[in-house]
Amino acid sequence: MRDEHARAYWKANVRILTTLLSIWFFVSFVCGILLADFLDNFRFAGFKLGFWIAQQGSIYVFMVLIIVYVFWMDKLDSRYKANTKAANFKAADSQSASDEDSQS
């Protein structure tokens, strides 16, 4: 039971990583470097867009990515803990569940 939850947890974790790292790659390498010259055709205030992403925007996106990661993983962790707890209860039907906390 625990193994199954562990596998599901890891799969979900890898999915979160793939999503966030794709954004990381797209913003920094694609927008900030490869497409920077093209994006420079667009302007806001005194900035050319490509230049702004390269020197400012990408850093803000990096911050947001790590913050989102923290929240998503918190959610995933608590789901995993609830699931393993439930599984332990089923498995330990007749036994006392006194050592529950040390398991999570």
Binding site: A6, Y9, W10, N13, L17, L20, L21, W24, S28, F29, G32, I33, L34, A36, D37, D40, F44, A45, G46, F47, K48, F51, W52, A54, Q55, Q56, S58, I59, Y60, F62, M63, L65, I66, I67, Y69, V70, M73, D74, L76, D77, Y80, K81, S104
Partner: protein, 559 residues
Amino acid sequence: MSSVQLWTYLFIGLSFGLYIAIAVWTRAGSTHEFYVAGGGVHPVTNGMATAADWMSAASFISMAGLISFLGRDGTFYLMGWTGGYVLLALLLAPYLRKFGKFTVPDFIGDRYYSRSARLVAIFCAISISFVYVCGQMQGAGIVFSRFLEVDITTGVIIGMTVVFFYAVLGGMKGITYTQVAQYCVLIFAYMVPAIFISIMMTGNAIPQIGFGSELTPEYGGGYLLDRLDNLSVELGFAPYTEGQRSTQDVFFITAALMFGTAGLPHVIIRFFTVPSVRAARVSAAYALLFIGVLYTTAPAVAAFAKTNLMNTVNNAVYEELPEWFRTWEDTRLISFEDRNGDGRVQYLADPAVNELTVNRDIMVLANPEIAGLPDWVVALVAAGALAAALSTAAGLLLVISTAVSHDLLKRSLMPQITEKQELRYARIAIFVAILVAGYFGINPPGFVAEVVAFAFGLAAASFFPAIVLGIFYKRMNRQGAIAGMVAGFSFTALYIIYFKFIAPELSTPAHWLFGISPEGIGTVGTMINTAVALTICRFTAAPPRYIQQMVEEIRLPGH
């Protein structure tokens, strides 16, 4: 003594007093405290300490200047040195915290069940950190000599003594809390002049916004960046906001700095000090927020300073230039040669008629003076630069000391030593490392400054793939990991040594491999490491069962 010097003595005296007070208050009593500060550091505290650990003399003194001369290409420093934190937070920090030991060679040695792997990791950790720490000591010496007119030797010795106090007494515990204080000092010292200048030039108090605003009428109006582009073109330079280097080179340098950031042992070990896996994630987020404050300000400072310099200096009558020009001329950071004898300064791109050479460090060090800010602001910069240099030096020295006392002695050569003895060896190791670093700070071998930038390439090509594969690929075995680290590290080191020391005259895009400069070659090293590791791993035995279980355990959330 000038008023600037009085202020400088005051700020440096106060900040050093604070560091020593913290050292006395946080003495370490056990190896657990010495190596990982007892493992109970609050995520916000650790985030701040990581930020100071990370931002070195180079970030504080040189980065804005580098960017102001590179224009948009300077981006690789900005994205490279911040984007690496995304990798660190998502791919390394939480799992290494779950693993829960003291050092990076600990992880490599245990995960790859091999003394050779541990020894390779020790070698990489010590050489990377050592190269890096010499640059910090040198940075501290330069600040002392320029602001206080003491000679570099005295400056380095003062710096060494202070680091000695809190690193030898407190280990990681002392280092953590002084780094928190140092972060506050350095960020204040960086932001105050930046805000002043932003208000002066654009009327906007936030440099990140002032960067994209219009100049005030005294500065001629119009958007700052447009004006900067025009000024650059007028003087024959490339437009500031356009890239000059080849796209693939910028791409590879950025990637090398990112992978390197995530693989630098002194940053990784900071995440061993927090109490849980969750705390490791949270503190990575705080670390990047704290770092981002400086890193989003730096490009603005670069643009302000460059505009200001060109405005003030070009075509000005030499005799009428403000006092700071002569002060910095004395330190040879600026030099003027009146080639056409008209008594005016010509600052032009064409080397045949240009009369002014400007050292990049001046963009931060002299910026407050160029902008005519009050003396106390000028003095603040010295205290900030020292905080940046010393905080990074301490983190690096700790890596060297733990690599010797813990990884080399306790875990490899003398497993029978007691904790007390191990702690004594750790203190001796850090003491010796300080002396050696100080020696090289005073007598810098010509190559140190050059090599600091390459520490990233080396970290990227050795540790980053070995750690990531160790977590994400259960089948990775010791043969693959060792071969990968050796291949990646030696390829990168040889490429750098070849182009920087053996045949520097050949170091042009035409001769580089795929047009990738030595700064960016770490990315290729990372790829080679990964490819070699995966290939060798296929033809050799899978790691033992207990190692695979350990990997599964690392992947699950802790308490």
